[in-house]
């Protein structure tokens, strides 16, 4: 397999280097570097959105999640993505309308302008920093741990693999900016889709086909064929909380809201939303097949053992090598966009003078990459559940953002402070200082309801006042 890995790996890295060089040549202005020229068409737009959305969390996390929790994994992610793409039609329109006549310098800066309060931007930045850096870290960590186990003979520790991933991301994103990331996303998204299907079909054949797969699962563990799954995790409150958190990702996570802004026009953005919906189904379905394969063959293995076997050891050498490349691609495609978006958000909060230099954003991206790298040394391997915390955490800012976008009237500072309180409560619950569940419902779901109702009430009050 190592021969194939060398051939495919060098080809893949070569393509990324070429794309980085190609986009660097095309960068003529700050706008090109930061916003990729803001003229993305349907194909590039949907691939960069999809590749940013689906990450190592998809290729490593989802098979393990469906292995452990069964068919409800589809509802957890794919159905939530269905809601998300529908929301894009409305949210994307609102956002683009709001920034049509101003320079979009990131959501933090936009919130400062909308609310007329500096702290609105700082709060948003704090939220994405505190929840996105760990999200980047767990993906890097997941892939690095997997590579360390899979290539034990090379004696490369996980931290060195992590350094390699982050280093490469920094190399091409700081050279070609968002344009390089968008081109890389195209390659990475395509690779992810092809690889996950090759492995999914191989797993299906190994299980004896479609019907036999379900028969074997029924014998092994029938609870996998229904909700809430064998561990009882996928209950209505958990799934509803996940639905809201995932649906809010384009609203609250800057790497995706930026992609809505840089689409060529609304028509392309709407088509992109539909394409992302199909992509989501296409990419999630085979992860279920891989998960079911694991449920039958490796029910008691650890996540790393299962992934190592299902994606590499049980596959032909060329497919195994492709899986490794796919994992690299998946981790990089999300990490690059998130780190760059964090850099851009920080830049938006700086003074006009500091903002004019591209060195600022490059240094910021470097700083965030270092933070993610350090965090990756200490994070756990529960990819999906940690990702869900990240989604739910950033989703706390959703009502604040939507309230600011739906109206042109000043909305006061109430929602800014209430959102701050909501984020603090969520963090304290994650640290087990406050209860994670209240009255049978998760604290995240309570906070979504409270913040959503408060934003609506705020809107009505301000409308009456005006």
């Amino acid at each position: 397999m190592q021969k194939w890995l060398l051939i495919l790996g060098l080809s893949y890295l070569g393509i990324l280097v070429f794309l980085s060089w190609y986009s660097q040549r095309k960068v003529k202005s700050q706008e090109d570097f930061i916003m990729a020229g803001s003229k993305l068409g349907l194909i590039l737009g949907f691939m960069t959105f999809s590749a940013t959305l689906f990450s190592a969390f998809t290729l490593m996390g989802m098979p393990d999640f469906s292995r452990v929790h069964g068919v409800g994994a589809w509802m957890f992610l794919a159905f939530s993505d269905g809601g998300m793409v529908f929301l894009i039609l409305w949210f994307g329109y609102l956002l683009r309308k709001k920034v049509a006549n101003i320079e979009f310098k990131g959501m933090s800066s936009l919130l400062q302008q909308i609310y007329g309060i500096k702290w609105a931007g700082y709060l948003y930045f704090f939220a994405i920093f505190i929840f996105l850096v760990p999200y980047v870290a767990i993906q890097i960590r997941g892939v690095a741990t997997f590579l360390e186990l899979g290539f034990g003979s090379l004696q490369i520790p996980a931290w060195l693999w992590s350094l390699g991933i982050v280093g490469f991301v920094l190399l091409y994103s700081s050279a070609g900016g968002l344009k390089a990331i968008v081109y890389a996303d195209f390659v990475q998204g395509t690779s992810l889709l092809i690889i996950v299907w090759i492995i999914g079909v191989a797993c299906l054949q190994n299980m004896g086909g479609w019907t036999e797969m379900f028969n074997q699962i029924a014998v092994k563990n029938e609870a996998l064929l229904s909700i809430p799954g064998p561990k009882g995790l996928l209950t209505s409150p958990f799934l509803i909380g996940s639905f809201i958190a995932i649906m809010m990702i384009p609203v609250t996570q800057p790497q995706l809201s930026t992609r809505l802004v840089i689409m060529k026009d609304i028509k392309a953005m709407n088509k992109m939303a539909v394409a992302v919906g199909f992509f989501a189904m296409l990419v999630i379905f085979p992860t279920l097949l891989i998960g079911f394969y694991g449920a039958i063959n490796y029910p008691d293995a650890t996540a790393a053992e299962f992934i190592g076997n299902a994606l590499i050891k049980d596959q032909t050498p060329v497919v195994g090598a492709l899986a490794v490349i796919g994992l690299f691609a998946a981790a990089m495609s999300t990490a690059d966009s998130q780190l760059f978006a964090l850099g851009n958000e920080l830049r938006g909060l700086l003074s006009e003078k500091a903002r004019k230099s591209l060195i600022t954003i490059r240094l910021a991206v470097l700083g965030f990459a270092a933070s993610a790298l350090i965090f990756s040394l200490f994070s756990s391997d529960q990819l999906v559940l940690l990702a869900r915390v990240s989604f739910a955490g950033t989703a706390m800012t959703g009502p604040l953002i939507l309230l600011g976008l739906i109206t042109n009237k000043p909305q006061g500072s109430f929602m800014v402070w209430l959102t701050a309180l909501g984020i603090l409560t969520f963090l304290l619950a994650q640290a087990n200082i406050l209860p994670i569940k209240v009255g049978g419902l998760g604290i995240d779901l309570w906070l979504f309801i409270i913040l959503g109702l408060a934003a609506f009430a705020n809107y009505l009050v301000m409308k009456t006042k005006g």
């Binding site: 039609l89 379900f214 919906g277």
Partner: protein, 80 residues
């Protein structure tokens, strides 16, 4: 009558939003989200899987319809 056209499109779109909400509510309701329910199966898929795949397909199809209704400018004004 462009004004009438916009009104009609907006009306259909609002209906689509209501239908999408209905799909979401039904999907999380005890009618479809039933504990330990495997039958009826469809193409050998257990109940929770095929109903959810169907619901996801409907939401994506609604996204397609919604995009058409909102038009090229997103404000219901342009014809496709």
């Amino acid at each position: 009558m462009p004004g009438t056209n916009i009104k009609r499109r907006r009306g259909y779109y609002n209906l689509l939003v209501a239908l999408s909400l209905l799909v979401v509510i039904l999907s999380f309701s005890p009618m479809l989200l039933v504990k330990n329910k495997i039958n009826p199966t469809f193409l050998n898929m257990p109940f929770a899987l095929w109903t959810n795949i169907l619901a996801t397909l409907i939401l994506v199809f609604f996204t397609f319809l919604g995009g058409r209704l909102r038009g090229d400018k997103g404000d219901f004004s342009s014809d496709n």
